[in-house]
Symmetry: C2
Subunit: 323 residues, 2 copies
Amino acid sequence: MKRPWQGQVEPSLLKTVPRHDPHNPLCPGATRANGEVNPHYDGTFLFDNDFPALQPDAPNPGPSDHPLFQAEAARGVCKVMCFHPWSDVTLPLMSVPEIRAVVDAWASVIEELGAQYPWVQIFENKGAMMGCSNPHPHCQVWASSFLPDVAQREERSQQAYQSQHGEPLLMEYGRQELLRKERLVLTSEHWLVLVPFWAVWPFQTLLLPRRHVRRLPELTSAERDDLASIMKKLLTKYDNLFETSFPYSMGWHGAPTGSEAGANWDHWQLHAHYYPPLLRSATVRKFMVGYEMLAQAQRDLTPEQMSSSYSGLSRVLVAVATA
Amino acid sequence: MKRPWQGQVEPSLLKTVPRHDPHNPLCPGATRANGEVNPHYDGTFLFDNDFPALQPDAPNPGPSDHPLFQAEAARGVCKVMCFHPWSDVTLPLMSVPEIRAVVDAWASVIEELGAQYPWVQIFENKGAMMGCSNPHPHCQVWASSFLPDVAQREERSQQAYQSQHGEPLLMEYGRQELLRKERLVLTSEHWLVLVPFWAVWPFQTLLLPRRHVRRLPELTSAERDDLASIMKKLLTKYDNLFETSFPYSMGWHGAPTGSEAGANWDHWQLHAHYYPPLLRSATVRKFMVGYEMLAQAQRDLTPEQMSSSYSGLSRVLVAVATA
Ligand SMILES: O=P(O)(O)O[C@H]1O[C@H](CO)[C@@H](O)[C@H](O)[C@H]1O
Ligand SMILES: O=P(O)(O)O[C@H]1O[C@H](CO)[C@@H](O)[C@H](O)[C@H]1O
């Protein structure tokens, strides 16, 4: 953190976004790339991504002739979920009931796509710095015919911990963090937010329910309201950290779904990861490059330094709110 | 690749860099952050990083009280290697004998630091987009008291392949790519450059010797000359691809060193990875975000599409050369 920085400076993040733009394919009433017209939605809105990375009918690559050249079809669907009819809001600027509607829509899409697919990945890329190509508040949902790499790794670790210690890894982990109080960011009746012991992204956090919950649809109404409220608090702290609409990628992980949904997945605990890229200010980011790509993650801040940066910072930023 | 792009556009990459800047700590004769004055070097120049991420005397974190909270001291040294006394050149603009001097300096630093440390990671972050904070042509060398994550993964895969098939994974892999000819970028008497079957970064390549070589210092003089020449060709193709000084992170992987250097590491084959970020043009990059961070790498181009983009493109770009 002491290195002089002469490197890349990001373009300023606060652009004025019009509340409604009839040419933005995510807005109510707009025409999308495939010619479909969006409804005049006034809450959340889920539709098929017009440029899907996964398709239900991906062709089979055929048998392999060599152990080093193995390929398999990756099948699935990609959806987009708008959080709100307005383009000039973000989750932290939405009301708690509006965020609660997003939580309900997340739970429904896991149920709907999870009926067929073993993994349904909900993720939000927020901000141009995180590859988001449209400022309208939205997330994506990619359901796949296979367990992706990260899901496989989480499955192995949680499975191994359960069989050695007889309880879910993340239940014991959350309890320990509550006792140690070194990396906590927020706690509420039903939820915890902490900087995980293994954090590598600056200001990375983990959002966990206190109760043992395997998947989003299992959340009670009280847990959903409380989730909306703690998300608003966390994202407001993020916006305040560098006084900017804070970029990140986030996503939910829960027990696998699909035809094996009925198996024993008690070693899984639902959680969300937040990976923010900003390191020193609204315009200087952490680059995960050279050493990180070729050897190992290198962190510029310890998790304990990160979590202490969050104290205070709970006022809603008016500058961001009205930008 | 068909998605409309309204996302982040990178600042233009071609800035005029002065050949010599007495305030740039990487230039000959300049004073560095610690007060030391650089020699008036006229070839390569190796020195200790003034802001090292690894230090030889990192304190021990002490015994852990819980299986989920395990930490170990990461010890090591970080060095910087300038490739050339001028700030306004890059490897592809240097002469083959000048690049050969860099290859020799790489081999020496592996010998020097490898006498003590089990892993010596040479890597170059090129371009502001890849977190490079100084335009002077240079790479870094981080030696560590442990095998980093990626090294451990390569160790496991190469070890497993050797014990199943009785020969090094990357020897068989290189031979297969030479036969299949679908992903080759360049071949020379002693070297191959190909887009690996598993490539995820756009225009990612793997540089491999044809002979079984475990570490850089084992390269013969003829192999080193040929390496300098094929690197110049590869990096010139990169510059030509989007007519810009092409950003990337690259690094060398070879058999572990240190006190275990004498063990049997015959399953290792020396290689370099190139990871370039540009996807569609000199200003639009691939973002490894959301789905990639939370689930699995998603590639916008197939390796076969990437490798066919390289044909031609071997003229040295005068615009870049004189920028
Ligand atoms: O050492 P530098 O050039 O200051 O820093 C660069 O390379 C490091 C090693 O890959 C990264 O950790 C930094 O994020 C990056 O900006
Ligand atoms: O789907 P989008 O918003 O066009 O694209 C964004 O998210 C994808 C999934 O994380 C990434 O693969 C792309 O690199 C990124 O730009």
